[in-house]
């Protein structure tokens, strides 16, 4: 910026400093400390033993690591596309001409402000096989109880259902903002051309909210990769480890079994996977823009 007495360099540093100090103390430093730990066998009570890359090598032969990583990916695949679709549909509803739109917007968003512990316990209760509401209703209409959380086929989907309920509202808000950005004239002219609602939807709205969709996608994938609470509270990783996700295994290795080094190594691998995916996404996004 062309201003007299330019101090951009100095000002940039000064303005960044308060956050950077905090960031270094509570993020960068512990992160490096974590990396250091990952080269040790350490139970946090006795002195650690340096093992170089052994913890990382062990990862590749650990079945549980692979299965947990797969469960995480499964969760990402189950949640991400559907959450985008629900969020987008909700956004269409609340930005449309519905008399209910204000109420809907609030109701859809409301679960997002509740804590994960509350959400997890509530849905575990709704889905409890013998006394939960869902199966009470199913039995009332003559059906058989469903093992929402205890049937290995459904358990991950059930956690997904709770997650849809919890976070779809967030995506809705992002999408409604995207939709509101689209200028009225575009819609007017399509109306004059005689396009119906669904034609307009597919020809105009969907292509134009694409940037929002990409942002949603990135945020959602990061969030889904870091999933912990819902699974931990609702299924405890069961049935027979079928829903144990990587963050849970990291937690158990570190804080149940006190293999701090191994736990840190796994956390690092997860971090790099998320980082890699985000970078790829961002690169693709950048390409599309230009």
């Amino acid at each position: 910026m062309a201003i007299p007495g330019n101090h951009d360099k100095r000002d940039g540093i000064i303005f960044s400093l308060p956050f950077l100090i905090v960031y270094f103390m509570f993020m960068v430093f512990p992160l490096l400390f974590g990396l250091y730990i990952s080269f040790f066998n350490w139970d946090i009570l006795s002195p650690g033993k340096f093992v170089a890359l052994d913890n990382y090598k062990r990862l590749f032969t650990d079945e549980m690591f692979y299965s947990s990583l797969w469960h995480t990916i499964e969760f990402v695949l189950i949640t991400t596309p559907i959450l985008l679709i629900i969020g987008f549909s909700m956004a269409l509803l609340v930005t449309g001409d519905s008399p209910l739109s204000k109420i809907s917007e609030n109701v859809f968003f409301l679960p997002y402000i509740l804590s994960m512990t509350v959400i997890g316990t509530l849905w575990a209760w709704l889905m409890q096989r013998d006394y939960g509401l869902f199966n009470q209703v199913i039995r009332h209409f003559g059906g058989d109880s469903i093992g929402w959380l205890i049937n290995p086929k459904y358990a991950m989907w059930s956690v997904g259902l709770a997650t849809y309920w919890w976070t779809a509202g967030f995506n809705m808000i992002l999408f409604s903002a995207g939709i509101k950005q689209i200028s009225k004239e575009v819609y007017e002219s399509s109306k004059i051309d005689g396009a119906g609602y669904f034609q307009t939807l597919f020809k105009i709205t969907i292509p134009l909210v694409k940037p929002t969709a990409v942002l949603c996608l990135i945020l959602q994938i990061i969030a889904s990769f870091n999933v912990f609470g819902q699974v931990y509270v609702m299924t405890g990783g069961g049935p027979h480890g079928r829903t144990r996700v990587l963050t849970q295994y990291i937690y158990e290795a570190g804080f149940r079994y006190f293999k701090m080094g191994y736990s840190a190594a796994m956390a690092y691998v997860l971090f790099f996977i998320i980082l890699l995916i985000s970078v790829i996404q961002y690169a693709l996004l950048g390409k599309e823009r230009s």
Partner: protein, 428 residues
């Protein structure tokens, strides 16, 4: 008008700061209390729910009857407790006394985070000969005492008297065949569930499978791990018999449904919808509070041979502190002894006392059910003392759950479990 608003805002902000800032930095109870008065003994436990209520009542009673010591107890939910305890121990930040399961205690002791108690106990003339021998021996490491056992909580059998009567079951089942016959009779004649044993993880992990599996191994004279805890010891005939017994009850005899979780099993029995239920002694209190439930308890029957039952034990231990204060240590010992001495209060939660004198007390003998399974203490065995136990326990529970859910071939399942357990032990 505008400046007025501004002023109000500033005042509001100042007020908030005035309240929050000191609250943020106020340190915990770790600060040494300089003033005279009772010694404060801080204490962590993992008892929530029903257990928690009985336990808090005990602590209250202790505080009511002692003017020189104040016990201050903080509770953390069981599944987060050891995370917190270990983190605190690593920085010598743990409280004066903590509850530790016997199976976890021996993982900690070699790391030097708990105080050996022999000298302290001698100094305080502790009546060690009043303790039941087995649980006291279970907290010794290399000849030294590292904790005092608060209770023994064994796996026992609960059965519904009304359903047994309806089904014409006259004798309490002793062998596996009798157990299946009784469960089948209940199921056929009353339409209720024969045997409520959780076999699927939901809110709680399906540990009952592992506990039963270990018990049935011991009943055949085998242990889960070998003598020095270095290898799995269940991939053999005894292991096969034990696993078959678990799998068959679900798939061959169909007296337990698949996909039954802990809450489902407990509530099924509680509502009178199940004939037989296996669980720790801790469920007694819950069942007693259920109106209309007519049940009895018995020590775990010797299903596959001689009597043996898995058991755990809550113990009280003293973490090593940054600075140790002899007066505080004596107070801690007094608190621990008092808690064990009043086992009849803790028995309300179902737990088996560890002091001989408690068994004489009228308050204990007049309690129903407790004496029906009190003899469990004599054939109870503890979990193997290895730091790897927590991981083995949780992993084996998953694998057993899988074997039962999938009606897996016993040999195949055992071979897989053996390989997994051995690799876990090797990683410590």
């Amino acid at each position: 008008m505008k400046t007025h608003n501004h002023k109000r805002k500033i005042i509001a902000i100042l007020l908030i700061a005035l309240i929050t800032v000191p609250a943020l930095w106020s340190a915990g109870a770790k600060e040494e209390s300089k003033q005279e008065g009772p010694i404060e003994v801080t204490f962590w436990s993992l008892f929530t729910g029903g257990d928690g209520e009985f336990f808090d009542a005990m602590v209250d009673e202790f505080n009511r009857t002692h003017t020189d010591i104040v016990a201050k107890s903080d509770t953390v939910k069981f599944d987060n407790y050891y995370t917190k305890l270990t983190t605190a121990l690593s920085a010598n930040n743990a409280p004066d006394v903590v509850v530790v399961h016997q199976s976890n205690l021996l993982g900690y002791v070699p790391r030097g985070v708990f105080l050996p108690l022999d000298d302290l106990l001698a100094r305080n003339n502790a009546p060690l000969d009043d303790f039941v021998k087995a649980p006291l021996d279970a907290v010794k490491y290399e000849g030294k005492l590292y904790a005092l056992p608060l209770d023994v909580h064994a796996l026992i059998m609960y059965y519904n008297e009304d359903l047994f009567a309806k089904a014409g079951v006259k004798e309490v089942p002793q062998t596996y065949e009798e157990l299946i016959a009784a469960a089948k009779a209940v199921q056929d004649k009353t339409g209720k569930m024969g045997m409520a044993v959780d076999n699927t993880t939901a809110t709680y992990k399906a540990y009952t499978l592992t506990r039963l599996f270990m018990s049935m191994l011991e009943q055949q004279g085998t242990s889960f791990l070998n003598a020095d805890n270095s290898k799995a010891n269940f991939n053999n005939a005894a292991g096969e018999a034990a696993l078959r017994a678990l799998v068959d009850s679900v798939h061959k005899y169909k007296v337990t449904p698949t996909g039954l979780d802990y809450d489902g099993a407990v509530n099924g029995f509680k509502l009178g919808n199940a004939g037989i239920h296996f669980n720790g002694v801790w469920a007694t209190g819950t069942f007693e509070n259920q109106p209309g439930l007519n049940f009895k308890t018995a020590g775990l029957p010797p299903l596959l041979g001689k009597p043996a039952a898995w058991s755990g034990s809550h113990t009280l231990a003293i973490p090593v502190q940054k600075k140790s204060d002899p007066a505080k240590l004596d107070a801690a010992i007094e608190f621990m002894l008092w808690m064990t001495e009043h086992g009849e209060m803790w028995a309300k939660a179902g737990h088996i006392p560890t002091r001989e004198s408690v068994y004489e007390k009228e308050a204990f003998t007049s309690m129903p059910h407790r004496k029906d399974y009190a003899d469990s203490a004599s054939f109870a065995f503890a979990a193997p003392a290895t730091p790897a136990w927590e991981e083995i326990y949780s992993t084996v529970s998953d694998l057993l759950e899988f074997a039962v859910a999938k009606n897996q071939n016993a040999r195949e399942a055992l071979a897989g479990m053996e390989a997994k357990v051995n690799s876990i032990i090797a990683s410590y």
